[in-house]
Amino acid sequence: MTAVHTTDAAVPTNSSSAPRRAAPDGAPRRRGSAFDRALPYLLLAPAVVAILWLIGWPVLSVLVTSFRKLNLRELTRGEVVWTGLDNYTEILGDPDFWAIAARTVVFTGVVVVVSVLAGLLIALLMRQISPVVRIALQVALLLAWAMPLLAATTVYQWIFDQQYGILNKTLVQLGFDSFAGFSWFSTGTSTLGVIGLLIVWQAIPFLAFSLYAGAIGIPKDQYEAAGIDGASAWQTFRAVTWPELRPLLLMVTFLSLLWDFKVFAQVWAMRQGGPDGGSTTLPVYQYLEGISKSHFGVAAAVSVVMVALLALLTAQYLRRLVRSQEGEL
């Protein structure tokens, strides 16, 4: 499996080498008792029951619900009203929905690209700096990474506070007097800008650390060879770093897409999707329809569309991943 061999190099404890995989085959062949043969299933049973009940069933249920009319009325009366594709035609025919979906995709794209690129640059930077500075940088990244989402959201609100926020105070101090009392949350776009900055700030540490782990795993002699050939910094990057890091980069990009697409806490806590729905994303829309308005059928259809969109965004990588896993099992 090429996708992670760079991490393997950095993490010997996690490597699952071929001989070890072959070894367990010996165990069952010792002609076990009935208990021995049942043991793996017994060990798996609790996990399987939990996953089927708490993940598998809801997955089916969200599909089924998306074809029902299910508002508070139907719910309290226990009525089952099938409406076919009505929920889908309703949301897909709503221009607001398209605006929200497009906003979510663009927002996710920007946040993912910015955070992965910045993470890569910081990872490469970490190799070039003196140890003391590197430790300082890593501690700083750790601080950002460890802060709980909601704590970080409140701090950003305080930094961007209209009247007493340190950002406006700093800008005024620097001579930009027009920022006195400037509201960063007056439009949807600037609100999303602040939320995006917050998400990028939170996402980079993980990206930088994992890419750094990958980068220090690249064999030194490859760089020496490039040096002897007189390659420039950019050429070395293109010829050595990029091909070695590409699988890892793809993986963290995929993970970032998965995580950033469904972000809810920061968006909701910042301005509840406001002003005037200007920072509403699909997860917020789902919450508003489903929980606040009790339009469960419509919200289920939104969830299905969300998953479909996410699958579409990550299809290429998912296919590769499943294929590579199949060979490795």
């Binding site: 043991l39 939990a50 460890a146 802060m147 709980p148 305080w158 993970l255 469904k262």
Partner: protein, 279 residues
Amino acid sequence: MKAKKVSDAKKVTGNVVAVVVALFFAFPTYWMVATALKPRKDMLTSDYDLIPFSVTGSNFATAWAKPGFLSSLGNSLMVSLSAVAAAVVIGLLAALALSRMRFRGRKGFVMMLLVAQMAPFEALLIPMFLMMRDLDMLDRLPTLTLIYFAVTLPFCAWTLRGFVNGIPLELEEAAMVDGCGRWGAFRRVTLPLLGPGLVATSVFAFVTAWNEFLFALSMINDQAKQTLPVWLSGFKTAFGTDWGGTMAASTLFTLPVLVFFLIVQRKMVTGVTAGAVKG
């Protein structure tokens, strides 16, 4: 000679850039703690106050005494810890079966775990809500425990499987040759070696549960049963404009996670990257 000078200049530039980047990442944490320590009157001025000159503990006292803070802190701790304990134990059982044993349908189980781990949980809000409503479980803390257990279980099983794979079976077999039973060999050899992996996995799962917001917001209405993220998100009503109290509460909210992170930081990166995608 000349080349060396150039690379020196590059190194200095790199260090300077790195320091600026470090400041950018550390600043919000600094500002949170600095605000938490600042007297209220120093905060609400238009003066430039990057460095607090007078320091007070009163914001922490305010936050601590605020209605809802302690109870939501307790709720968060209880829900997260119980969910993680369940997920780690059950995940470990599954990991052992998948890593150490060969049996019919094994590949299928591994695939199931992989798929379950990729499932975007947020999209299951509606069916989960309806299910918990049917079970009369809305507004009850065990509901959140159950959900967080389900969210973290596939991750725990998958990551622990990676850690178990990393422990050579030969060690266990050697212990069995020396007279240990199967269980004894596992308990004396594999389990201790698995310790760091268990800690790293638990911490990551704990942070996931500690941070969770959407389900906590949707399933719980009763203020006495709120978790800390939901309580904190309502700080505007809870505090008015008391930023000092909010930042003190946020600091207290951050502390446990920060301590855990410092302990297992190295394992986290490798555990998460390895656990997320590989076998």
